[in-house]
Assembly symmetry: C2
Homo-oligomer: 202 residues x 2
């Protein structure tokens, strides 16, 4: 049953908020009523920051990471290792890898992975621009850091084939048991691979 | 550790969104990146509807329900029973009771319940205006429909005392087992009350 809203403005705001992923009408109503209890200036700040973001945000012309100018801070940083490119699915993954503090190379954001089920093919992703970056030379290694899923593996395989003629080194993230995992509950594929790819200690 | 955002605009939008209740930085980032994939006009519509809401929304001068004009649709409706007032904590509760289709009287939205722990006293709520509505006469019954919590009961008790001199009939929502409940898992206070206040079948 369609809920009756006492105010049209309230109904419109709830309808807009509930378009966001994972937010239903009840949560949207709770958020909107929370905003009404806050200072009107704070809600204006929220609305304005969202509008500014979609109007002014840019994507790095080289790696397609989100940024405020033509080139992102990582690509513009002369201290980064320019011979290594880490290929990731999205911006969150750049942030996750940056947070580890373990990587000093550049990135390439594909904007997704190949997924025939969702109608996403190679031409919907930034794959051609990756090939061009490699063909311009100076790249020694490509680290494929896609999610360990079927779609990620498909995309890895596609990239491997597309770069077959180049002398660039290709690698994928190590797969194995996570820190803190309980072996009893680790899935058998992961556990099996972690035995096959065991790391020598001496 | 403070996460590094690749864009200042992104960081500001995430900061604003994560001020909302129940939304952390990860969820805020996910929502903001989802908005970036949408049409910019949709995000403008979202921002504008929130701004319009906080700027233009009004509260009914009689029952304090949210509305777009001076008097809400319920108070303005000549078909509603004007001799009964249902006292509720907030706007969501008006909507919940309206959705049952079982109530044809008017409402009074307190805007909260008495809660000394949270520093909310009688003067922070619309209690004086409730007393004035009753003293103006024509009210036969007040239904106290507050949440069945300690704060709700305290507020019920306070209203009962404030209205002690009036001849208005006071009632509270029936308490008992919910439809679909399993008696094995019903708390003993509720189950005990449902036995004491059992409903005769013949």
């Amino acid at each position: 049953m369609q809920q009756q809203y006492p105010s049209l403005l309230l109904e419109q705001a709830v309808a807009e908020i509930s378009k966001l992923p994972g937010i239903g009408r009840k949560t949207a109503l709770r958020l909107v009523l929370h905003m009404l209890r806050r200072d009107a200036r704070e809600v204006h700040a929220l609305g304005n920051s969202l509008k500014r973001l979609v109007d002014e945000v840019q994507y790095c012309r080289t790696c397609h990471n989100i940024c405020d100018k033509e080139e992102c801070d990582i690509c513009a940083n002369p201290l980064r290792d320019r011979s290594t490119i880490c290929v990731v699915e999205n911006i969150q993954n750049v942030m996750a890898i940056e947070n580890t503090g373990q990587y000093r190379g550049l990135y390439h954001v594909l904007g997704g992975v190949i997924s025939p089920m969702d109608g996403i093919g190679p031409n919907d992703l930034e794959l051609q621009s990756l090939v061009e970056r490699v063909e311009q030379g100076d790249i020694a290694e490509i680290i494929l850091a896609l999610n360990p899923t079927m779609e990620g593996d498909t995309t890895n395989f596609y990239i491997q084939r597309r770069l077959a003629g180049n002398r660039v080194k290709l690698s994928v993230l190590a797969r194995g048991v996570s820190v803190g995992d309980d072996l009893e509950y680790t899935d058998e594929v992961t556990l099996g691979r972690s035995i096959i790819n065991r790391t020598a200690l001496n």
